[in-house]
């Protein structure tokens, strides 16, 4: 008999995500310095006892800014994935349950969404409306819809003719009840895994959009914004370009390890 491996992915991913969430929560109650306070006597300083991660070109404390930056990263990621999860699940359920023309229409819609990855969607939305946090959330969310829709559709198609669903139908249950009580629980675990993996991609996309000036507004500290500002001063000091980048890597790695770990834990067939 094979030993059950310790879910290292799950533990490590959970720890990294926990660290980032803790940083975001901590920033509400405690920050070592005011993240917006400029100190022209300490511009572009390296790490020290007063400024743990150093300072940026305005002398602002990088550690405080990295902590507070966790907020916008998590917020944009969570809302974007929330949009994708709700819209994708709904579309996938309709396509899989109704089938026929509804399936065809939804799948064509999904194909079109697939042609607009987050950055492309954000370019279009930013041109039409204003670049900003909401635009970024909607762009990342819409671009992620196809993943959830396809997953949900596949689960519904696989489950809809099962005996227990048939039994529910024979007892006179409505479609909505059959879907929510009998089908959705069976489809939940792949959706949870996908949500965690999508959060990793959403964090990367949010950072890229902020870096391009299409995401979080420049006056709000976010990791992408910090990297964009740091680029102009790399010749003088590398510190401002290091801390926010590492924060992104830790967060993305956390969500993707957590997703892998959840998949291993929830679906024994993928355990390798």
């Amino acid at each position: 008999m094979r030993h059950r491996r310790r879910p290292l992915n799950l533990v490590l991913g959970g720890a990294l995500v926990g660290l980032v969430v803790a940083a975001a929560l901590l920033s509400f109650v405690w920050l070592p310095h005011d993240p917006q306070r400029m100190d022209f006597a300490a511009q572009l300083a390296g790490p020290s006892a007063t400024h743990w991660f150093g300072t940026d070109h305005f002398g602002r404390d990088l550690f405080s800014r990295v902590l507070i930056g966790a907020r916008s990263t998590l917020l944009v990621g969570a809302i974007a994935v929330g949009i994708a999860l709700s819209l994708g699940t709904l579309l996938g359920a309709v396509a899989g349950w109704v089938g026929g023309w509804a399936d065809e229409v939804v799948m064509r819609l999904i194909d079109v969404l697939y042609a607009f990855p987050a950055i492309l969607m954000a370019l279009l939305l930013a041109a039409v409306f204003q670049p900003g946090t909401v635009t970024a959330m909607v762009a990342i969310g819409l671009a992620t819809v196809p993943l959830f829709a396809r997953l949900m559709r596949a689960s519904v198609v696989a489950l809809r003719d099962r005996d227990y669903v048939e039994a529910g139908r024979a007892l006179g249950a409505h479609d909505a009840r059959l879907l929510s009580v009998h089908v959705l629980p069976g489809a939940a675990s792949p959706l949870v895994v996908q949500a965690s993996l999508s959060l990793a991609v959403a964090v990367l996309a949010e950072a890229a959009l902020s870096f391009l000036g299409l995401g979080t507004p420049p006056d709000v500290p976010s990791w992408g914004n910090m990297l964009r500002e740091a680029q102009g001063f790399m010749m003088l000091s590398p510190w401002a370009a290091l801390a926010p980048g590492l924060a992104i890597v830790v967060t993305v790695l956390g969500w993707s390890l957590l997703g892998d770990g959840l998949r291993d834990a929830l679906d024994p067939t993928t355990r390798r």
Binding site: R108, V112, Y114, F116, I119, L123, A127, A207, L227, V252
Partner: protein, 314 residues
Amino acid sequence: MTRFLARRVLTTLVSLVLASVVVFGAVLAVPGDPAAVILGMNAAPEALAAVREQLGLDVPAPQRYLRWLGGVLRGDLGESIQYQRPVARLIGDRLGVSLPLTLAAALLATLVAVPVGIATALKRGTVWDPLLVLASQVGAAIPSFWLGLLLILVFAVGLGWLPSGGFPGWDVSVGRSLRALVLPVLALGLGQAAVMTRMTRAAMLDVLSQDFVRTARAKGLARRAVVGKHALRNALVTLVTVLGLTLVNVFVGAIVVEQVFSLPGIGRLALTAIGNRDYPLVQGVVLLYASAIVLMSFLVDLSYGWLDPRIRYA
């Protein structure tokens, strides 16, 4: 095969038309008068009228869409408001930077990821496996633009070997232009290589666990023959999907990397167009990207039919 092909051609055409509706329809959603948004509140009435005419705002939207689509099919994407030049020509000029960047990055990712992905799948269960898996996971978590900044820090600022950004132009100096693309290609390609390695490994593991591989092993075939002749050939279908995904990722990722290295590519063109509310230019660039993605997915599906007869005859 004909039915398979006909259906794929049809769905691809539908996707292309729908994508064009999205791109065209987006500008209809601009709040207020697009001409006033472009020129500002204090623009002269004559100037506003000129921009409205250029955007075709004097014609009803469905008619405008058909006119625009007709132009697109002839290669006419309209005229840029900011540059006062045809959008197609502006894009064409910048393809000379974006295309080599994208293709070289995809090639680099493939050359790294396919051998490493296959090797890690074959080394499963050894001490190297978890290390290589973790390395690819960390690599996939590094944003290409941050990797770009790190490469600039080391190779441009620190060692002074390569330029930190800018592009002299192929007609000015081929050598210097190639040098200007080295760091951007590394930034874009290495991150993708990590993502692609994971997918290649998964594809290979999937094939290696199938019955026909066990049969081939059981009948005493050499490991080389099992992997090279049986497993690899069957993993090809998935690898083609992986390659298609990589091309799309690299193509879109180039938008960010061009910004890091100040490369005058299509992505940067779109970013300046957004700042200037140059709608025809934004529409042209976004339509180009979306169409390319639709066509790439079509080609991937076609290659399935070619590589796997079961799909062709199903």
